[in-house]
C-alpha cells in the first residue's frame, strides 16, 4: 500500500532571506530583493543585476578548508540543509540507511569550472585543482549533505535545468511513498551568477536588461516583462513517511500529495505552444493526487517574467483548470526573489507551504500593465488573505522538462 508523505523540515538561503522565517517576512513585505552585481566587474554585460545571497558566514557551519574548497552551490545547499535538518530532528543514527538525499541543481559548480578553465588556459594543466571535478559535479550536493549528516539511504541528484528542484522532490516523494525509505532530504541549490553564467544567459537574451530599474525588472505576467532575473540560493525540505513522523512526534508542516512530469519534445529553450507539455504535467500531478482542479486553492507559477513562459503557462493553466482558471489564486514569487533556476522549485515549495499555513497569498509584485494573453488572477502587488488548502507549484526547464508538485494541509 502506498504510504503518505509529509514535510517535517525546511531550510533556505536565498536573496530574500537566509532562513525560512526571514524569507517569509520578506515575501510578506512584497519588496524586491534584486540588487546590482558587485561580486565581479559587470561593466560589459548587458544585464548587471541579480538576486544574491548576502551576509551568511559559512565558517559558522564548516571549517575554513571546506569553505575554501566547496563550490558555492554546495555551500548554499548545505547551509539550507543544516536549517531543515535542525527543524526535522530526524533520528539519523538509528535509521541512517532509510534516510536518503535527493537534491538537484541546474548548473552546479560552474564557479570552480570557470576558475580552473582560466588557470588551465593561463598557467597550464599543473595549476588545475584536484577538486575541480568533485566540486563541479551536481550530485556532490547530495553526496556532501550525506557525508555531513550521516544519511546512508539512496543518494543522487536530479538535473532538469529550472525544474531540477521539483524533479528531485518528486523522486524523493515517490521513494518514500513506495515504502523504500523513511525520509528524504530533498530540494535544490543553485549559484550560477558568475561571469560565464551571466554572459551565457545574456547571450541567450533570456534576461531582463532593465539595469536602471533593477528592482522592478522581474515582472511576471506584466505586458512589459522583458526576461527573467537571475537569483542564487537553495531550498531544502525534509520529506518523511507519515506514520514514521507521527510515531516520533515530528511537527508536520504539510502533506505531499501529487507529482507530475512530462517532456515537451519541442525545442531546447522555448516552451511548447500553448504550454502543452506543462499542461500535461499539471494534469498528471492532479491525477496523482486524486484531486480535481477546483481542489487547488493556489498555483505558484513558474512565472519567469519571460515573454514565452508566462504566455504559455497561462494557456496551460487555462487548458487544465477551465473556467476555474480565472478564480484560482496564482502568483509568481520570482517577482520578489528572482529566478533561482534549479533551486527555484524548492524555495517556491517552501513559500507555498508557508502560504498554506498562514492562509495568505504572496503577490506577484511589479505588476502594472495587464497583458491580454495573460488574463488570470496573478495576485498583483498586495498579499491576499484567503483559505488555502492545497497548492500546486509549477516548474519548467530548458530542454522541455516540466515538473509539477502538489502539497496540501495536513489533516
Amino acid at each position: 500500500m502506498s504510504k503518505r508523505v509529509v514535510v517535517t523540515g525546511m531550510g533556505t538561503l536565498n536573496p530574500s532571506g537566509n532562513n525560512v522565517d526571514t524569507y517569509w517576512q520578506s515575501l510578506l513585505q512584497g519588496k524586491s530583493n534584486i540588487v546590482p552585481i558587485e561580486e565581479f566587474d559587470v561593466t560589459d554585460f548587458t544585464t548587471r543585476f541579480a538576486g544574491l545571497v548576502k551576509e551568511y558566514n559559512f565558517e559558522d557551519i564548516l571549517d575554513k578548508k571546506e569553505c575554501r574548497r566547496l563550490s558555492r552551490f554546495i555551500l548554499l545547499g548545505y547551509a539550507a540543509a543544516v536549517e531543515a535538518l535542525k527543524q526535522a530532528n530526524l533520528p539519523m543514527e538509528e535509521f541512517a540507511e532509510e534516510i536518503g538525499v535527493e537534491v538537484g541543481s541546474g548548473i552546479g559548480g560552474i564557479d570552480i569550472l570557470e576558475k580552473m578553465t582560466i588557470a588551465l588556459h593561463e598557467r597550464g594543466p599543473s595549476k588545475v585543482s584536484p577538486f575541480t571535478v568533485p566540486m563541479m559535479i551536481i550530485d556532490m550536493i547530495s553526496g556532501f549533505i550525506s557525508i555531513k549528516s550521516g544519511a546512508k539511504g539512496p543518494n543522487a541528484s536530479s538535473v532538469s535545468a529550472c525544474a531540477s528542484g521539483s524533479h528531485s522532490m518528486g523522486n524523493a516523494f515517490n521513494m518514500i511513498r513506495s515504502g523504500k525509505v523513511k525520509a528524504m532530504i530533498t530540494g535544490g541549490s543553485e549559484s550560477a551568477i558568475t561571469p560565464i553564467g551571466l554572459a551565457s544567459f545574456c547571450a541567450a537574451k533570456s534576461l531582463s536588461q532593465d539595469n536602471e530599474n533593477y528592482s522592478t525588472a522581474s515582472k511576471p505576467f506584466d505586458l512589459n516583462r522583458s526576461g527573467f532575473v537571475m537569483g542564487e540560493g537553495a531550498g531544502i525540505l525534509i520529506f518523511e513517511e507519515l506514520e514514521f513522523a507521527k510515531k516520533r512526534g515530528a511537527t508536520i508542516l504539510a502533506e505531499v500529495v501529487g507529482f507530475g512530469s512530462s517532456g515537451d519534445a519541442y525545442h531546447i529553450t522555448a516552451p511548447a505552444p500553448e504550454g502543452e507539455g506543462g499542461a500535461r504535467a499539471m494534469k498528471i500531478a492532479l491525477e496523482d493526487a486524486k484531486m480535481n482542479p477546483e481542489d487547488i486553492s493556489y498555483i505558484n507559477a513558474h512565472g519567469t517574467s519571460t515573454k514565452m513562459n508566462d504566455k504559455n503557462e497561462t494557456a496551460a493553466i487555462k487548458s487544465v483548470f477551465g473556467d476555474y482558471a480565472h478564480s484560482v489564486a496564482i502568483s509568481s514569487t520570482k517577482s520578489i526573489t528572482g529566478h533561482l533556476l534549479g533551486a527555484a522549485a524548492a524555495i517556491e515549495a517552501i513559500a507555498s507551504i508557508k502560504m498554506m499555513d498562514k492562509n495568505t497569498v504572496i503577490p506577484t509584485i511589479n505588476f502594472s500593465t495587464p497583458d491580454p494573453e495573460c488574463d488570470l488572477n496573478y495576485t498583483p502587488n498586495k498579499p491576499v488573505e484567503r483559505e488555502i488548502n492545497a497548492v500546486m507549484s509549477n516548474s519548467f526547464g530548458f530542454g522541455g522538462h516540466n515538473a509539477v508538485i502538489i502539497f496540501k494541509k495536513y489533516e
Binding site: 571549517d63 575554513k64 578548508k65 571546506e66 599543473s126 595549476k127 585543482s129 584536484p130 577538486f131 568533485p134
Partner: protein
Amino acid sequence: MSLTQEEVFEKVKKVIVEGLGVSEELVKMESSYTDDLGADSLDTVELVMALEEEFGTEIADEDAEKLTTVNKTVEFILSKN
C-alpha cells in the same frame, strides 16, 4: 639570497596550515601529511600546488610522491634553492 632551513620551515608551515586547515602547533618537522595532519590524496596534490606557488618552483610528480613529511619537503626545497 637563499633561505635558511628555519625560514623554509616557516613558509611550509604557513602553506600547510592554510591548505589543510590544521593548527600551527600541530605542524612539526617530523609530521607526516597523512598520518599526523589528516591529509588525503587530493589534499596532498593541492598542497604540492600551493608549495609550488609559495616557492615559485615546479615540483615534478615523481618528486612530489616522496614528499610525505614536513622534513622531506623542507629538505627538498632547500636542495632546489
